[in-house]
């Protein structure tokens, strides 16, 4: 067990996550702000991490082999000629069971750091998290129209990809009405819409809807539908949504202006109409930009502008746009009319997040979406940009601190902190941890 009170596996997972932000392990440990006091009880691992991994790999191989043997034996015993398809199906079933076993092993052997555990959240936050998880997994039946707002600094594509991953995992009929892509994965029903009239798009959507399954229609840019007077977007959306178990996810790029026709000049602007109709609004932002905005707020500075709003001619996209993982400001609207707002963080998904069965993969193993305030990088403000020109006095002395010096300086417990300890401090004693370069001078102590 490491000194932090968490098991090695937990720490390894934690480090893997922080490393994905480019944070070193030392920084990550600092950011955790490990509380002093009794060490949190945790399962002590009887084996090292490497042994655990080997064990897991061995188990996996065994299961796979057993499954294959079993399927073959069944095949011989029943004297049936199994088609390849059936064989794969059986194998998949076994693999799924095996994945469950693997998870239970993992659950026993390693614990997740409390930062990632939902049960420590207050009730409302937990409710919001559950809402978002439902929206993401497309399981919220009353969520008919999800409006996704994005801009050039954070594209909504990773979010759409996430919807598609989860939808396909649940065997939902995914229909992509695309004005921006020219091809997609063959498991998605693809409608390339940018040259089609509205009624033709509608016809194709109706053709793609499967009445026996849940359908989700993704529209990767609503602009072409909104522009021009030939489409009534309200009518368009509601005529899709009248199908049973069919919902719409539409993307609106916030920085693309819409040319209003003379008749539209008297109507509410398109975005207002969409926002009015939406049951959930998800606005995408880049994590790096959110963190730098927070850093500026914390210092009561003006929040930096990025991308097209930068005061630089010719800049299209801000640096740090489309960061690895995105922040989503969500607004949920209940039937009662009340709305709740919350910010979330979603990292990029990996294949290992999903069960391997299914086409092209199975269901999500464990929800990895977290509240933004739980995100360590956001908490610690690690991407905080340094002020570019810190005025430093001209001097021959080096007034700066190295990383090591700063760490040590922050580690010093000042006497008045110690005195506030409820158990009573150690009086006025100077608290000093001996470094390795210090040598204990007995004579001086005796004076």
């Amino acid at each position: 067990m490491s000194s932090t009170g968490f098991s090695d596996v937990a720490m390894a997972e934690f480090f893997a996550k922080t490393r994905s932000y480019g944070i070193s392990e030392v920084e990550a440990l600092e950011s955790l702000n490990i509380p002093q006091g009794p060490v949190r009880p945790s399962i002590r691992l009887p084996i090292t991490l490497e042994q655990f991994r080997e064990e897991r790999a061995r188990l996996y191989e065994d299961w796979k082999k057993q499954a294959e043997d079993k399927a073959e034996a069944d095949c011989k015993k029943n004297k049936k000629i199994l088609t390849r398809r059936k064989f794969v199906k059986e194998l998949n079933f076994t693999l799924r069971t095996e994945a469950r076993v693997k998870d239970s092993i993992r659950a026993k052997m390693g614990t997740i750091p409390p930062e990632f555990q939902q049960r420590h959240l207050p009730h409302e936050k937990k409710q919001n998290w559950l809402n978002m998880a439902k929206v993401l997994s497309l399981r919220k039946t009353d969520n008919l129209f999800t409006l996704v707002l994005d801009d050039l600094n954070q594209s909504s594509r990773p979010l759409l990809t996430e919807f598609i991953h989860r939808g396909l995992g649940h065997r939902i009929n995914m229909i992509l009405v695309s004005f921006e892509a020219i091809r997609t994965h063959h498991h998605i029903r693809f409608i390339r819409a940018n040259n089609l009239a509205a009624d033709e798009i509608m016809k194709r959507i109706e053709g793609a809807i499967n009445p026996k399954a849940q359908n989700v229609i993704l529209i990767d840019s609503m602009h072409d539908l909104l522009e021009g007077s030939n489409v009534n977007v309200t009518f368009f959306l509601s005529s899709i949504m009248r199908y049973r178990e069919t919902s719409v996810i539409g993307v609106y790029h916030q920085d693309v202006p819409i040319a209003a026709t003379p008749t539209q000049a008297y109507e509410p602007i398109a975005l207002a109409t969409l926002k009015f109709m939406a049951t959930t609004i998800l606005a995408c932002r880049s994590l790096k930009h959110v963190i730098s905005a927070k850093a500026a707020r914390d210092r009561s500075l003006l929040e930096p502008t990025v991308g097209l709003l930068e005061e630089a001619e010719g800049v299209i996209q801000g640096m740090g746009a489309n960061s690895n993982g995105m922040v989503i400001d969500a607004e949920f609207r209940r039937k009662t009319g009340t709305t709740t707002q919350e910010s979330f963080f979603i990292r990029r998904s990996q294949l290992s997040d999903y069960y391997p069965d299914g086409h092209p993969h199975g269901k999500l193993k464990k929800e990895f979406m977290i509240l933004l305030e739980q995100d360590l990088a956001y908490k610690a403000g690690i991407h905080m940009p340094e002020p570019e020109s810190t005025p430093e006095p001209e001097s021959t002395f080096d007034l700066g601190l190295t990383d090591k010096q700063r760490r040590e300086r922050e580690g010093v417990v000042l006497p008045y902190h110690d005195a506030q300890n409820p158990e009573g401090g150690e009086g006025g004693r100077i608290l000093y941890d001996m470094g390795e370069e210090d040598d204990f001078d007995e004579e001086e102590d005796e004076i």
């Binding site: 202006p257 819409i258 040319a259 001619e313």
Partner: protein, 389 residues
């Protein structure tokens, strides 16, 4: 000088053609033109592959559509800055030029005597012969606005050729093919643009139809928006009339061009000066934007949403410097390590990318560049001003 040494190693990953089909957006502003970058793309695509190992790779061909600059400009730039003989390359069917400037609104003019000579000259001496007259004509031609032509002012309506006869007479066309093997746009309609590019593709791939990868460079297609009078009119799409030229139709035409056979990478160059992006919805100016402002902003932002990679040239933020021409910012859309097969937007792609890398292993970043008088370009990182190219 071998062509590859003309591209700085810092720039190399950005100008190299990505492995998978992609959409790269270049933007420029008035003081910081992206021509040098286009030349670098040309060098990378058209440099002769090595003898041994690169032979099995598909040959890269280039179609350059230019609305603001003519053939002579690109030819001399290509030779001066890139060491490329575009004329020879186009005879070898590796390069095709589509002229969107000289015949778009003007009637076919009688060519200058210097231009009509080359067909009669034997091919060995042709390159030498054309060198001198070209220098002279280059100074006059590219910068002269169409309005200065006496023909246009005399009869503005008659000067536009009818759409039914997009080309000049066959003999004249043949002559053109011989002296400058390129294509011309004669009407500013999207259907004609697509047709012309299709015929350019057919011309390039007539020898080996399947294997070629084509890089399609579109120099300032946003000019079309400014030229068309329909941007302000409400679109009335019916089956018969051609689609009006709006940002959305222009955008979807570009997407259509991307889906044409053999087109591998689409590389539009768009102007991003402040007046052209001033119609942002977040902009709370007391004056409502003009239709043209809205159209150009919408076109640029739409393309930027589609683009896999955006490369924008701009001036130095801190003012003019003697040894820096501008800043090149490269941003990528798809970042992060999706290690599975499901990129979902392109079939069967395998992305094994690092943390900050985008498609094709490209990292976002900012580079400074300096375009010398001889066309040579030094590219360096911030703070490394005196670094070597």
């Amino acid at each position: 000088m071998p062509p590859s040494s003309r591209i700085s190693p810092l720039l190399q990953p950005y100008t190299h053609l990505p492995d998978r089909e992609s959409f790269i957006l270049l933007t420029e502003v008035l003081g910081a033109s992206a021509n040098w970058l286009v030349i670098r793309f040309l060098i990378d695509a058209l440099s002769i592959p090595g003898d041994g190992e690169k032979q099995e790779e598909a040959e890269v061909k280039v179609i350059l559509v230019s609305w603001l600059r003519d053939w002579e400009f690109w030819r001399s730039e290509g030779r001066k800055a890139g060491g490329l003989d575009l004329l020879r390359l186009s005879q070898e069917k590796r390069f095709a030029f589509v002229d969107g400037l000289s015949k778009l609104y003007l009637p076919p003019m009688p060519e200058a005597p210097a231009h009509t000579q080359p067909p009669t000259v034997p091919s060995q001496t042709r390159t030498q012969q054309t060198t001198l007259p070209v220098r002279g004509s280059r100074i006059i031609n590219p910068r002269a606005p169409p309005g200065t032509s006496p023909n246009l002012t005399a009869s503005p309506t008659a000067s536009i050729p009818p759409p039914s006869a997009p080309r000049a007479s066959p003999t004249q066309q043949q002559q053109q093919q011989q002296q400058q093997p390129h294509f011309s746009l004669t009407t500013p309609t999207l259907a004609h643009l697509k047709e012309t590019i299709l015929s350019a593709i057919a011309h390039l791939t007539s020898a080996a139809p399947t294997s070629a990868k084509i890089l399609l460079i579109l120099d300032s297609p946003d000019t079309l928006l400014a030229l068309s009078s329909t941007t302000s009119a409400p679109p009335m799409p019916t089956a018969q009339t051609p689609a009006p030229l709006t940002p959305s139709t222009l955008c979807s035409t570009l997407l259509d061009l991307w889906t044409l056979p053999n087109i591998h990478t689409l590389l539009p160059i768009i102007h991003a000066d402040t007046p052209l992006v001033s119609a942002l919805p977040s902009n709370t100016s007391p004056h409502p934007p003009t239709p043209l402002e809205t159209a150009s902003t919408a076109f640029l932002t739409r393309l930027a949403h589609i683009a896999d990679r955006t490369m924008s040239c701009r001036l130095l933020d801190t003012g003019v410097a003697r040894d820096v021409s501008g800043v090149l910012r490269v941003t990528v859309r798809e970042k992060g390590g999706v290690s599975d097969e499901a990129g979902f937007w392109t079939e069967g792609e395998e992305l094994g990318m690092g943390e900050d890398e985008g498609v094709g292993g490209v990292r976002e970043g900012e580079l400074l560049y300096f375009v010398g008088g001889d066309g040579g370009v030094r590219v360096f990182e911030r703070g490394a001003g005196s670094g070597e190219a």
